[in-house]
Each structure stands twice: as C-alpha cells, then as structure tokens.
C-alpha cells in the first residue's frame, strides 16, 4: 500500500505490437501518476497510444500481436504486470472499471441488460441473483435511467446511445471501483448527450470519490473535467501539466496546435478553423528526430536530427520539445 495517496503509477511503460509491417511502438515510454480522487485527462489524436496505455493498465492488450515490453504499472501498491491473469481478473471490473467509446457495440446485443449488469456483482461481490438484480436496478437509477426496473429486462438495442452509455457507466461503477477509465466515453454521442454524460461522470465521481482517467481526442471535453492532462503523440507523452496551466501556457507546439483546433464560437467567426497540417506518423517507422517535426511550424534542423528532451518547466509541467522553454515563454 502506498500511503502518499497515489492510486496508479505508470512508469516508462512500453507496449509494442508485432505486425507484418514491423514493430509498432504504440506506447513507448509513458509515465504518469494518478492520486486518489484525481481526474487525469489523456489527450491525443487517433493512434497516439492513449487507448493502448489504458488497455495495458488493465492487461487487456491482445497477446499476440501485442506485448507489454517493459515498464511498471503500480496500482495501489501492487505491480499489475507481476500478477497472474487470475489475480488481474479480480482487479478488472472490481477495482478498475472501464467505459468504452461506442456504447452501441460495447454492450452485448444478445444478452439482457440485467444479465450484463448482474454478472459483475455476482462475480466480484458474491451477490445472489436477487441481490444482484436489486443492485442493478439501483445502479440504473443512479445513472439516471427512467423506469429502471422495466429496463432491466430489455436489450441494449431498445435504448438510445446516451442511455446505453449510462448502462455502461452503471455496469462499470456497480462494484464501486477505485479507478474508472473512460475511453472516449462521449465520442459516439450527440453533443447534447455528450454534455449529459460528462456531467454524470463528474457528479458520480464527486459522490463516490473514484479516481478517473478520461481519454479523449477532444480538448473541450477534458477542460472542465480534469485536474491534470497528458498530451500523447506517437506513443509518447508530449506534454504533461495541470489542466489550467496547459490551457493557459502550453509548452509544446503540438499542444498549441491542438488548442488552436478547438472551435471557439465567440471569436473567429467566418474564419476557417485551424488544422494541424499533415497526418500522424506511422509508428512502425519513426524518424530519428522528433515525431512531430514534419508537422511542426516551430521545427528547426535539430528537431529532425535529434530526439527531443523531456524538459521540466516546473515540478508539475513537462514538455517533450527542443524548444519547450521558449514555447512556454511565449505564453
């Protein structure tokens, strides 16, 4: 047990996939720390490794082709990598729970909602059928599903996307986990529903004291939700900072690019929205220098030649860039 209130420490995590195209370094040296009750945002484009990081924490990487090559994952004082798969299963769903991106496909279409809810508490909390059923009803009520008792015997396809995501959240929280990992929980939903779901997560987190990792490609989503943010790119942490500071004084050109790409209806009316040029690199064949150099408007020769250092701006703020301090200085 760690007593400094840290729930999860990830240290130099590397998860690689062996493909016909070579070794894809999906996650390549990620480190972060999450304190109890804290919310961490992980932001990045598709393929930046944010989902793989969290699937690694749950040991849900399909092996083969994937493999956690090195690094430490310390959950509440226990090294998850050292556990047997049976011991990991006791953590999954019980102490660390996950919500996935697409509630349409993440719930089993063939099984009743009650079955899918009940199996978690029957497994982890030793509930009898009756207890599990009543607990399920209670959970559905908690996540704001109207007429939960009637919904229990329904199937996922009878619910709307937002309702399904609520069911996912009810399922994830039914064993009162210490850590909730939400992987793009609102990406597949309408904007109005997005706000409701985020509000729900925020509210439940406040009530239950759960630590949360919120994965998203949308900086707008993490802005009001998180204590600190990690920006990932090409399997690496590009910037790590408290939320407020990251938004006000980013120290990485990539973060700046992302911030500029968030639409702001108050200004720039009629102007085209900024877009970072180019595409994310192929992580199977990375150049020797900075993986972002080709798309960066700040790049110089050194960026293409040498891999950038992880510069400490202050104790909580780090940035992977040759010019981190200068970018930070610009405010």
């Amino acid at each position: 047990m760690t007593d400094n209130g840290t729930i999860l420490t990830v240290n130099d995590l590397r998860t690689y996939f062996r493909t016909e195209d070579g070794v894809v370094k999906a996650v390549d040296g990620i480190s972060f720390e999450l304190k109890k009750g804290e919310t961490l945002g992980i932001v990045g484009e598709s393929g930046s490794g944010k989902s793989v990081t969290n699937l690694s924490v749950m040991r849900l990487i399909p092996e083969p082709p994937g493999e956690i090559v090195s690094g430490e994952i310390i959950f509440d004082g226990t090294d998850v990598r050292a556990l047997s798969i049976d011991e990991v299963r006791k953590i999954r769903g019980r102490r660390i729970a996950m919500i996935f991106q697409d509630p349409m496909t993440s719930l089993n279409p063939f099984l009743k909602i009650s079955t899918q809810l009940m199996e978690v508490t029957q497994l982890h909390l030793g509930h009898t059928k009756e207890q599990a059923y009543e607990h399920g009803v209670k959970m559905l009520e908690m996540v704001g599903i109207p007429d939960p008792r009637a919904r229990m015997d329904g199937y996922p396809h009878e619910l709307s996307g937002g309702m399904r995501q609520r069911v996912m959240i009810a399922m994830a929280l039914s064993c009162d986990p210490e850590l909730l990992i939400a992987d793009e929980p609102t990406t597949a939903l309408d904007v109005t529903i997005q706000a409701q779901i985020l509000e729900l997560i925020k509210d439940l987190k406040a009530r239950l004291g759960t630590s949360v990792i919120l994965i998203t490609h949308d900086l707008g989503v993490v802005a009001g939700m998180t204590d600190k943010i990690i920006v990932m790119y090409a399997g690496k942490v590009f910037e790590q900072a408290p939320t407020r500071e990251l938004f006000s004084r980013p120290a990485n050109p990539y973060t700046k690019g992302l911030l500029r790409s968030v639409p702001d209806p108050a200004y720039e009316q009629g102007e085209p929205l900024y877009q970072i040029p180019g595409l994310p690199p192929d992580v199977a064949h990375l150049p020797p220098g900075c993986p972002f150099a080709e798309r960066c408007d700040r790049a110089e020769d050194i960026c293409r030649r040498e891999f950038p250092p992880f510069v400490e701006i202050n104790a909580q703020h780090h940035s992977l860039c040759h010019f981190a301090k200068e970018v930070y200085g610009q405010g």
């Binding site: 849900l60 999954r92 089993n108 279409p109 063939f110 199996e119 497994l123 982890h124 199937y155």
Partner: protein, 305 residues
C-alpha cells in the same frame, strides 16, 4: 410471431408448386418417354399408352390436371412401379435416407462445432492449422472419392466394416462418415470464422474488462453471436441430408430416397419425380423457417413482421 409463421407456412404451397412446375417442364423438354426403351415398341401399343396417359392432349390441359392433382396432395401412381402410389414409394425409401442423414448431421455438428471452437480459441496453434487443413481436405475431396476410399481401407484391407448395403449398425458407419465429412468441414470453418469475428468485437473486450473468466466470456458472451452463421447453414443442410444424398446412396447401395430419385428421373417416371421434388422443396422450406424462428430466439434484435 404466430402470424409470421402462418404466413411462411402458407407460402410453402405456391413455392412448392413452382418447383413442381419447373420440374414438370424440364421432364417434358428432355428427350424420351417412360415407355421408351432400346427395343422399339409397336405403334399400336404406343398409341394406346399415349391415349391412356393423355399424352396427346394439349400441354396446358396436361399441366392443369397435374397441378390440380398435386395441389390436392395426390401425386398419383408411379409409371414404372405399376400400381404403387408415389406417396407409398417415398414413405418406403425415406427412412433409409433419414437415418443416415440424421446420423451424418449429428456427427458433422459434433465434429464441426468442437473443432471450429477449439481452432478459433487457439488461433494459429498447431491444432488450428491441422483442423483447418483437414477441413480444407474435407471440402475438396468429393464424396464419390471418399466413399470408395473408405471402403477400400476399412472393408477390403482391414476387414472391419461392411462395404455396402443396409444391415445393422456397422453398415451405417462408412456411409455416415462419408456423408458427414463435407458438412463437418464446412461447419468447422463457419464456427471458427464466426467465433473469431465475435472474439474481436467490442463487447467481448467489455466482458473481459469486467473480470470474467475466459470460460464465461466464451460461453456466455461469444458463442451466441459466433454460432449464428452455423445456425443458418445447418437448417437447409439438415433438409438436404434427410432427403437423401444420391452419390453416397449409390456408392453404398442403400435403397434411400436419393437413389430412387435418380432412378425415377432416368425412367422418366413423371409422377414419382414430381412427388419427390415436391417433398424435398417442402422439407427445405420448413427447415429454413425453423432456422428463421431460431434466429429470433438467439438474436433479440430480430423482429418478425
């Protein structure tokens, strides 16, 4: 649901009549008649025969009589096996085909499901490669090759099993195995592909993220969806197996429906041909209906209108 079943059952009648009509037309188009043989029959006899069976009537009249008889369930008397009603002939020969077909079906299901499931769960293992190679072989070797081959090995070399004819359980083994091979192979491949597809789906990841054991993940979450393609294949397959399989019955000299069917075609025994066609088409449609109903029980998203 009940309305759906009723509608589908009623549809069987016109569909079967269409199958019968097409067959009738084909028999008429094909050269030769039921009374033709190598030896020419006297003209007077031929004229008598044609008159007796109304063969000189206009085609639409003959067609109308045939159709109205069959629509009433009366398939008439065989032309070759004189005095024997078609219904009786079918009833006499069906059991042979049905016993062999049902056994082959069960064998194919057992082998196919088990092999396919293990292959999917141990993807790229030695078992996977071996069983899929065997399945490929099962699909590629036609049963008129496999049958004689099995007879050669198990009857003529090893003296273990009777080579042909109907008589006791041991005589069933070779035909059943020959018949089951291709279906087992097909079911194994369908099972493997279906399961692999499902095992990659998001809801399986969810099930694993809940901490369920691999056993529960597969049995509770994966099998239903993974076996849907198998279900849709095995319905019509069972119909085809029950109704007799020409080649295997020929190879093993089994007096089943398939054998009699071929004979009836060669004999231009019109009533018998039409009777068997009607029987088989009804059987296939009933099994398709059963599959569709089963689908509704397996997949709650399917609604009957």
């Amino acid at each position: 649901m009940l309305g759906f079943i009723l509608k589908r059952l009623l549809l069987i009648i016109p569909m079967a009549l269409i199958a019968v009509s097409v067959t009738w037309a084909l028999i008429r188009v094909a050269p030769g008649t039921f009374y033709s043989s190598e030896k020419k029959i006297p003209a007077a006899v031929e004229a008598k025969l044609r008159e007796k069976y109304g063969l000189d009537d206009p085609w639409y009249k003959q067609y109308g009589i045939m159709l109205s008889n069959i629509a009433r369930g009366d398939f008439g008397i065989s032309l070759k096996y004189e005095g024997q009603p078609v219904n009786e002939i079918i009833a006499r020969h069906l059991p042979y085909s049905a016993v062999i077909g049902l056994l082959a079906y069960l064998l194919a299901l057992a082998i196919g499901l088990v092999a396919g499931t293990i292959a999917a769960l141990r993807q790229n293992s030695a078992f996977d490669y071996a069983s899929m190679a065997a399945a490929m072989l099962g699909l590629s070797v036609p049963n008129f090759v496999l049958g004689p081959l099995l007879v050669l090995v198990f009857s003529f070399w090893l003296y273990l099993l009777p080579p042909a004819r109907w008589g006791g359980f041991t005589s069933l083994i070779l035909p059943v195995v020959t018949l089951a091979a291709i279906y087992a192979a097909y079911i194994a491949r369908l099972t493997r592909a279906g399961l692999l597809e499902v095992m990659r789906s998001d809801y399986i990841r969810t099930a694993r993220a809940k901490g369920l054991s691999e056993r529960s993940v597969i049995l509770r979450h994966a099998l239903r969806g993974g076996l849907l393609p198998v279900v849709s294949f095995t319905g019509p397959a069972l119909a085809a197996l029950l109704a007799g399989t020409v080649v295997v019955e020929k190879v093993f000299a089994i007096p089943g429906l398939g054998n009699i069917f071929i004979q009836s075609v060669l004999n231009r025994d019109e009533p018998l041909v039409l009777g068997i066609v009607a029987f088989i088409s009804v059987l296939v449609m009933i099994f398709n209906l059963i599959v569709d109903i089963a689908y509704g029980f397996i997949d709650p998203r399917i609604r009957y209108e």
